[in-house]
Amino acid sequence: MKQDKRGSDKMISMYWFLILFLVAAAVVYMAAVFYGKPFDVREVEANLLVNKIADCFADENYFRTDLTQDNFMQKCHLNFNVEDEQTWKDDQLYVRVDIEPLGDIIEAGNKEVLDFCSAELTKNAYCIERKLYAIDIDNNPYYLSIKAGVRKTEKNVR
């Protein structure tokens, strides 16, 4: 009888350490998943890009008519060069501004970024579209549609 009791105590200890081992494995796995994933900042980045372009077009509250395809990047203080990462060739960002009723289109960056926009954020570029009305200094109305896409998948998703 005594032998059996001692035996059962050892069995409990064995199971206890098995539970501890499972807990340790779960903690290590969760830590690896949590710290192994990069911070995904593409949504914030795309929003900031659209805001910056909107601010640039509506300078001092009036629509700017001096922005063209040629001077857009320079006058809006934009630079789409990116760091050397895998096969990146300064092709991770894209913006397109449609201006009505002029029918003008101003775009910059890699157009293909928009082709990979999808509801599944994790593996594709993050894209955003924002529309706004503006008037110029002579009270003429303009309707702007700003589309922006941020890829940078390798640095934001795993």
Partner: protein, 127 residues
């Protein structure tokens, strides 16, 4: 008496082993949390976004004391923690790592400095 002594010893060993296990878990999590690599990534992305949102002439002050303490522990030159090349920010906190870089789209000329308490100051100047 001997049996009672054995029982106490067994229980004490059991409790000590459990405490050792708990301590190992805590040390593992603390080490993981204060690892340099995620800290480099976090600050590189934060600084890039701060530059993206900033207008020229803007000064941003923020706390980077944990990164400074990490760099001090790694005996890394504090003036090289945050560096800018073209429109890319590189954050490095250790000698043996290559750091983490992230690009910003705002075409500006940023500069960066620390004070002794690890308070950072980011100044965004026009190009």
């Amino acid at each position: 008496m001997k049996k009672r002594g054995n029982l106490i010893t067994e229980n004490v060993i059991f409790i000590i082993l459990n405490l050792v296990f708990l301590a190992i878990m805590v040390v593992f999590l603390v080490t993981k949390a204060s690892d340099a690599a995620p800290m480099e990534e976090k600050y590189a992305k934060e600084i890039a976004l701060m530059i993206d949102v900033a207008k020229t002439g803007m000064i941003t002050n923020f706390d980077m004391s944990d990164a400074v303490n990490k760099a001090k522990k790694e005996e890394f030159d504090l003036t090289k923690i945050v560096t800018f090349t073209d429109n890319t920010v590189l954050v490095r906190l250790r000698q043996d790592g290559k750091g983490y870089s992230y690009s910003f789209f705002n075409d500006v000329n940023p500069s960066f400095s620390f004070n002794n308490n690890g308070q950072a100051q980011l100044v965004v100047n026009s190009k």
